[in-house]
C-alpha cells in the first residue's frame, strides 16, 4: 500500500455559480492527523465531503487510497463522523454501533464483539443498552465515533465533531481522540474552526481561506507525540498556534 492516503490536484468544486473550492492541492500521508482549519464557509467541510464521495468535484483529480473516492466509499475505506451525532433514536447505543456492520452483513456475534470493543474504546461500554436520548451530547458524539470505527477503517474523516460541545467536554474528547489515534495506525482528517483544537491534535495543519476555498498554508507540527492537555501552556504550542493564526489572517482580505 502506498504511503499517500489522499492526493488531490487542482481540485475545484462549485455549487452553481458559487465556488466552494478553487485549485486545491491537498495531500495526506498514512498515519497523519491532518486538521483543516478556516473560517466558516471556506469549503473545509466540502473538501472532506469530496474525499468521502459525498460531493463531486467540478474539476481536478483526487485519489483516496490510490483509487477514486467512489471506489474508496464502496470499499468502506473510511469512517465519517458528522457535526451532529446522527444516531438513530430508536436503536440502542449498541445497535447504533452495529448499524454499519449489519449493512455489510457481518454475523451477529461478530457485530456484537466489535461494538463492545469500540464502545469500550470510547468509554461507553456500560451504556450500550441505553438509547441515544438518554446520553449527554458528548457521549452521543463518542457513540458516533465508535460507530465510525466499527468498520475498522484506516481513514477517519471528522467534520467539526465537537463543535457543538462545551469546552470542558471538548477537551476531554480531544484527549481521548488523540490517545486513540496514537494507539492505532489511523489516518485522521479533522475539520475545525478552533485554532487550539487544531494545534493540540494535529501532526499537520492545513489553513484555508474563504470564498473560494483555497489552501493558504500547510503547517507541520513540531509538538511531540504523547502530548497532554498541559502542552497548551508550552511555548512551542503558543508558537504553533501563532503561526496558524497568522496564516488565517493572511487568508482574510480584511486582515
Amino acid at each position: 500500500m502506498s504511503d499517500t492516503v489522499v492526493e488531490a490536484r487542482n481540485l475545484d468544486l462549485a455549487f452553481g455559480d458559487v465556488a466552494a473550492l478553487s485549485n486545491v492541492d491537498f495531500t495526506v500521508a498514512r498515519g497523519d492527523f491532518v486538521s483543516l482549519i478556516g473560517p466558516s464557509g471556506c469549503g473545509k467541510t466540502s473538501l472532506l465531503r469530496v474525499v468521502a464521495d459525498l460531493a463531486q468535484p467540478t474539476g481536478g483529480t483526487i485519489l483516496v487510497n490510490g483509487t477514486s473516492p467512489h471506489a474508496a466509499r464502496l470499499a468502506r475505506a473510511y469512517g465519517y463522523v458528522f457535526q451532529a451525532p446522527a444516531l438513530l433514536p430508536w436503536r440502542t447505543v449498541e445497535r447504533n454501533v452495529t448499524l454499519p456492520l449489519e449493512i455489510i452483513g457481518l454475523p451477529k456475534d461478530e457485530q456484537r464483539a466489535r461494538a463492545a470493543q469500540q464502545l469500550d474504546a470510547v468509554g461507553l461500554g456500560a451504556f450500550k443498552r441505553k438509547f441515544p436520548w438518554q446520553l449527554s451530547g458528548g457521549m452521543q458524539q463518542r457513540a458516533s465515533i465508535a460507530r465510525a470505527l466499527s468498520l475498522q477503517p484506516s481513514l477517519l474523516l471528522m467534520d467539526e465533531p465537537f463543535g457543538a460541545l462545551d469546552e470542558i467536554t471538548r477537551d476531554g474528547l480531544n484527549l481521548r481522540l488523540l490517545r486513540l489515534w496514537e494507539a492505532t495506525n489511523l489516518t485522521v482528517i479533522f475539520v475545525t474552526h478552533s485554532i487550539e483544537e487544531a494545534a493540540f491534535l494535529s501532526s499537520r495543519i492545513v489553513v484555508m481561506s474563504a470564498r473560494p476555498g483555497r489552501i493558504v498554508e500547510v503547517i507541520d507540527s513540531d509538538l511531540p507525540r504523547g502530548r497532554d492537555l498541559d502542552i497548551r501552556d508550552d511555548a512551542r504550542f503558543h508558537a504553533l498556534a501563532g503561526r496558524v493564526r497568522t496564516a488565517l489572517r493572511a487568508g482574510h482580505s480584511y486582515a
Binding site: 459525498l54 469512517g79 458528522f82 455489510i104
Partner: protein, 275 residues
Amino acid sequence: MRSRALPIATALLLVLALWYVAAAALNWTQANGDLLGTMSLAKPLLPAPHQIAIEFWNSTAGQRIDSKRSLVFHAAVTASSTLVGFALGVAIGLLLAIVLVHVRVLDRALLPWIVASQTVPILAIAPMIVVVFGALGLTGLLPKAVIAAYLSFFPVVIGVAKGLRAPDQLQLDLLHTYDASRRRVLAVLRWPAAMRFLFPSLKVAIAASTVGAIVAELPTGAESGLGARLLAGSYYGQTLQIWAALAMASLLAASGVGVVVLCERLVIRARGGRL
C-alpha cells in the same frame, strides 16, 4: 390514569344532563306536555340515554347472537368488512407511500389524484362500486371492504409518505457512506422513522374504515350489518333502534382505535419509551 378519570367523568355527566334536557324539549309535543312521558315514548324524536341503554342491552344480551335481531350479529358483519377494508387500505396506502417517496415522477403524477379521490363524496361512489362489483359477480363482503379501503388508504399514504421523508440529510449521508441500497435505507432508516407518523394515520384509518363499511351497507340493500340496521330503523321510524346501532358503531370504531393504540404502546416499549 386516575388524574384523567375525573375530567372524563365530569364531561360525561354534563353531556348526559344536556341530553336529558334536549330529549324533554324535543319530545314535549309528542308526549302532550307530560314531562315523564317524554322519557318513555316508543318512537321519540330524541330518545333519552337510558332508553338507548335499555334498547342496546335488549338487542345484545337479550338476543341469540346469530339472530337477525341481535346487534352483536350486525356488528360482526360490519366489523368483518371494516377489518378487511382496513387491511386492504393500509396495504395500498403503505405501497403508495413507498412508491411516492422513491419515484419522483409518480409523486407528481399520483399525489393530486390521491387527494382528489377523497373529495368525491363516498355516498355517491359507494353505489357505483357495489353495482360494478355486482356485475362482475362479486357481492357480499368484498365490495363493502373496497369502499372501506377507499376511505382508509388516504390517511396512511399522506402520513407514511411524510414519515418516510422524515430522516434528515445527515442520516441519509451516513447510510450513503456505508453504500447502503435504497431498500436498506428504507428498512433501517425511513421505515423506523415513519413509525411516529404511522400510528396516528392508522387511528384515523380504522375509524374511516368503520364509516366506509357502514356507508357501504346502505345502498346495497343489505339485510345485515349496522348500516342495514340504521336504514331499517329510519324506514320504520324506530329511533331507539337507530341510536342503539349508532352506539354499537362507535363502540366498534373505538375498539379498533384501541387495538391500534395497544400496538403503538408495544412499539414504544420496544424503543425504550419513545416513539
